[in-house]
């Protein structure tokens, strides 16, 4: 009997499983993503402050009043950051080949004698989802570009919530 994939249980995951899935998805996007500018794994270590500064110009295309402090507030808020991550993960899940690769990486991560992932890599995941146009590995190539626009709009909406509906 084959074991259930993490996507079979998604989104009903425990918080530590969710953080693990977010981290593994971000790693997979760094490894496979093709963007206009090269994507470095350093983004996985970036602070929410740094990521907010990076992300704000993109979000200002849909809402010119967005500030980097508001974006950081979204990333710092556990609930809003989780919503943002879910939106990206939903997009990944819609692409079966990519979802399968993420699930395999997640399974491999589970084999490690590691501790709990305590950081929700929401900022990195959102930036990667917005920047990456296509993902490619081996003979697989998957179009990811439309996902970026969806995610950017969604995060801009979350910023509005932080800003009190402005």
């Amino acid at each position: 009997m084959s074991r259930l994939s993490v996507w079979d249980r998604y989104p009903d995951l425990e918080s530590r499983e969710f953080r693990e899935l977010v981290a593994v998805t971000a790693q997979t996007l760094v490894d496979t993503g093709l963007a206009a500018e090269p994507v470095s794994s350093e983004i996985l270590e970036s602070s929410n402050r740094a990521i907010a500064r990076d992300l704000t110009p993109t979000l200002q295309k849909s809402n010119p009043h967005v500030t980097d402090w508001q974006v950081q507030a979204v990333l710092d808020d556990e609930d809003l950051a989780t919503e943002a991550c879910r939106r990206v993960l939903d997009e990944v899940r819609r692409r079966p080949d990519l979802a399968e690769r993420v699930a395999a990486a997640y399974e491999e991560r589970l084999q490690k004698m590691t501790g709990i992932e305590v950081v929700l890599l929401a900022g990195a995941l959102v930036v990667l989802a917005i920047r990456i146009k296509r993902v490619r590995w081996g003979h697989h190539e998957v179009d990811f570009e439309p996902a970026g626009e969806t995610v950017a709009s969604f995060v801009a909406e979350l910023v509005k919530r932080i800003a009190g509906g402005a």
Binding site: R16, Q111, K112, M113, T114, G115, V118
Partner: protein
């Protein structure tokens, strides 16, 4: 670099220049010890560059070591924790870990002490080695897997003793009561604390409602009894939540820190196997003292320690540890050579693993090689 041969001949060889070495070592250790800050592809690339490339600059010429069976590596400063056993010293496909028995030790003095107290070197009696095992996962619901690895290791010894708690383990480290255990196998989470290495520790469990006391030597042979509190608090992420629900009433997560082992603990074990994430990771202190959980076990009396330099892959570690125990437990083979043979067998059986040294290379032998 100094190479001291068994006949006392000392040779000097230049190492990779510092300006080349330092940034590369830092990058390598970062991808190995903090894997969530990078990607598996980047990690594999960095290890590959090290194994086939610049890592060779940290070893003496092949001719100087080719005829040796065992290399005892005493690293200095930033080379502590660098997995030199993953270097491929020649153009062949063999890692140092498969061509030589390897043992690391943080200093020559500590190595001499390990050698002097190693029962295997004193012509140990023919009675079989006694092994105590403890496996517990208080973080990620893999208690059965951790326990399974500890049990599998213990099965290679006669009548292994199964420990459940931190208190039971500490009972065997009481300095006043010589323990009959020759081998400890502990499978659990380790947590390195780079800021305060004494707070690095093992995450174990302990029994609820049980109060134990420890004798602490105050003068000569005089001991005072103190209540046995852990020296450190359990990291916030480790709550009782992950302890099997049926056991939550009986156990809670408890740590065993380096600081605790520094006070009132002693062992004469031939080998302590610390299977867990980063049990061999540490920080360089004053006088080039590499302070880690694994080395603390050597300092409190163990002759040798098996530990992981970064997070271990459980299935691969299980296979490697099982092979090692099968070769070493019956006696007659030195630990370093047993680990070399176990590694060879593992890589011969699974060729894919040879291209992924980060999966199997975290396990190292520290202290005496015999």
């Amino acid at each position: 670099m100094l190479v001291l041969h068994e006949d006392g001949v000392l040779q000097r060889f230049p190492l990779l220049a510092c300006e080349d070495c330092v940034p590369r070592v830092e990058r390598l250790l970062t991808v190995l010890q903090a894997p969530t800050t990078t990607t598996p592809t980047t990690q594999a690339l960095r290890v590959e560059e090290f194994s086939h490339g610049w890592g060779r600059g940290l070893l003496p010429p092949w001719d100087a070591i080719a005829d040796k069976d065992v290399l005892i590596i005493v690293p200095h400063d930033l080379l502590h924790g660098v997995p030199l056993h993953l270097v491929k010293p020649t153009a062949t496909d063999a890692f140092l870990a498969t061509s030589h028995g390897i043992s690391y030790c943080s200093s020559g003095t500590l190595f001499r002490r390990c050698v002097q107290r190693n029962a295997a070197r004193r012509g140990r009696p023919l009675e079989p080695r006694r092994c105590a095992t403890l496996g517990v996962d208080v973080l990620t619901d893999k208690d059965d897997d951790y326990r399974g690895l500890a049990d599998a290791f213990g099965r290679h010894f006669v009548a292994p003793l199964r420990l459940e708690t931190r208190t039971e383990l500490k009972d065997h480290l009481d300095p006043r009561v010589p323990t009959a255990v020759d081998v400890f196998c502990v499978v659990c989470h380790g947590y390195p604390d780079g800021t305060e290495p004494r707070q690095s520790g093992l995450l174990l469990k302990d029994s609820s409602g049980v109060t134990s006391f420890r004798g602490v030597r105050v003068h000569g042979d005089q001991y005072l009894q103190f209540r046995d509190w852990p020296f450190g608090t359990v990291p916030a992420a480790a709550s009782t939540a992950a302890i099997v629900p049926s056991e939550r009433e009986m156990f809670y997560a408890a740590s065993l820190t380096v600081g605790e082992l520094m006070v009132g603990a002693r062992t004469m074990a031939e080998l302590v196997a610390l299977f867990g994430c980063a049990t061999g990771t540490g920080e360089v202190g004053a006088g080039d003292d590499y302070r880690s959980l694994a080395y603390q076990w050597l300092k409190l009396g163990a002759a040798s320690v098996l530990a992981n330099l970064w997070e271990a892959d459980l299935p691969v570690l299980s296979r490697l540890a099982d092979r090692f125990a099968a070769i070493w437990a019956p006696g007659g083979v030195a630990k370093a050579l047993a680990l070399r043979t176990a590694t060879r067998q593992l890589l011969d059986e699974d060729r894919d693993l040879a291209s992924r040294p980060a999966l199997w290379g975290s396990l190292v032998l520290l202290g005496d090689w015999a």
